[in-house]
């Protein structure tokens, strides 16, 4: 993971004996629950979803081995719900690696004991984009679209005229594609483009 200068300094200076009020001599045990134990900075604690950064692309959900991260669609209310359950988490930090926006933030928290399981669950709800034409909800969120807008270079947008088509349902897109193909028949190039595009977008989604 990225290590800024101050961070590495911190790493170098970090001393367990200081941090946990150990004495170097006997006794080596600590009255643990009564003092708070500080984990080293490298420690992979419970990840935390930063709702500001999260775009709800679901990359983390793909990567997560134990299904601690779950994504659900709620087309009625136009909501895409990303649920993180620390009780199932194995702290492998794969989600942090794959997150495109760094919304999954590493922490050094390790105490998950609680009498109420709700405390272990983080839920982030995203508003789904809706189709400009038919007004029904799309499968991806506003933020995803924003993100795509930001990362894709302008010319690509123009080239594929994404600007006006990005917020459309599949069917609508299909229809338009067909129309477009009709307009420029005999020329397969746009269709090939489309395939490439989908790949790009798919990557983001």
């Amino acid at each position: 993971m990225a290590e800024s200068a101050s961070y590495t300094e911190k790493l170098k200076r970090w001393d367990r004996f200081k941090a946990e009020k150990f004495s170097k001599k006997a006794p080596v045990t600590t009255p643990y629950p009564f003092i708070d134990i500080e984990k080293p900075p490298e420690y992979r604690g419970i990840p935390h979803i930063n709702p500001e950064k999260c775009i709800g692309c679901g990359a983390c959900v793909n990567a997560c081995p134990p299904d601690a991260l779950i994504m659900e669609w709620d087309k009625e209310h136009g909501v895409k719900r990303l649920t993180y359950n620390a009780a199932r988490c194995i702290r492998c930090a794969r989600c942090i690696e794959v997150c495109p926006t760094g919304a999954m933030e590493p922490t050094t928290r390790f105490e998950v004991a609680t009498d109420n399981k709700e405390d272990l669950v983080e839920v982030v709800e995203h508003k789904l984009a809706y189709c400009e034409e038919c007004g029904e909800y799309l499968d991806f969120t506003e933020r995803q679209i924003e993100y795509v807008r930001n990362i894709l270079p302008k010319d690509v947008f123009d080239a594929y005229a994404l600007e006006d088509r990005i917020k459309l349902t599949q069917e609508e897109k299909m229809r338009r594609t067909v129309i477009k193909l009709r307009e420029t028949e005999g020329n397969v190039y746009p269709a090939f483009m489309l395939v490439r595009e989908t790949k790009d977008d798919g990557g983001e989604e």
Partner: protein, 305 residues
Amino acid sequence: METAVKLGFSLAGIIIMLFLPPYLDGIARRVKARLQYRRGPPLSQTWYDLRKLFGMPSVKPTKKALFTWAPYIALASAISAALLLPYGNVVPVDFGYNLVVFFYVVLMVSVFLMLAGLTVQNAFSHLGSAREMQVILTVEPLIAILYGVLAYNSGSLDLYTIMTGLHLTPSLVLTYILLAYALYVESGFVPFDIAEAEQEVIGGPLSEYSGRLLGVFYYAIYIKRFALLWFFISLLTLPWIGPIGTPEKAALVLALQFVLTVAFYPIIAALEATNARLRIDHVVKMNTRAFFAGLIILAMAFMGW
């Protein structure tokens, strides 16, 4: 000494005998913890444990009455054994102030421990009882011999006479050494705690006990250990400080006994901490050897050495 003083000393004795043993165990825990580089529990942790156990209901594995009563009888006999010991030079309740009686009354703790273990249909507690019995079986003859030496040395089995009438001979010194060993075995410290071995037979005779009854049994065992130690300490001190005439001197003696008892326990704890548990056949072998050593000592005593 007039009765008031006697009463006072008896009261002191009773208080010591009832409240000290768990603290002694606490001391042992602390010492062990320090030897293992741990912080260890507070001194009164054993008291907390007992209180907790007293507060809990027990699980009932059998309908036998003996199962219910054994802990109480064990505790009662442990306490009566402790009451038979000299505090200062006062014996709180003198129902037979001599070696054999004391010894048998102490033995009753183990007897009822074993019987309790045998009331339930549980191989582990049976094993534990059998082990306890085999330890006693091998250590009692040794103790008998040593009592023989003491009796011969002082001319009587009566503890008053022994406490005053012992005279120092080589055989007596050896007797003290062996007696220390025998009492250590008898009180079931590591490495001789094979009867209650946790990892092998889950608690042995105690494996079926829980909650309050278990607490009572533990309390009985602590008091038994205390009684044996106190007995040894008195045997170590009383004969050599001459007749005790005044209450002041008696008080001094009591203080000495107390201090020595508290001072001996860390040694025991250290021994416990630095040893692994023995197997039953090891113990049998060791005790048999000790028995023959005792025979030699007895012969020496009778030859007047």
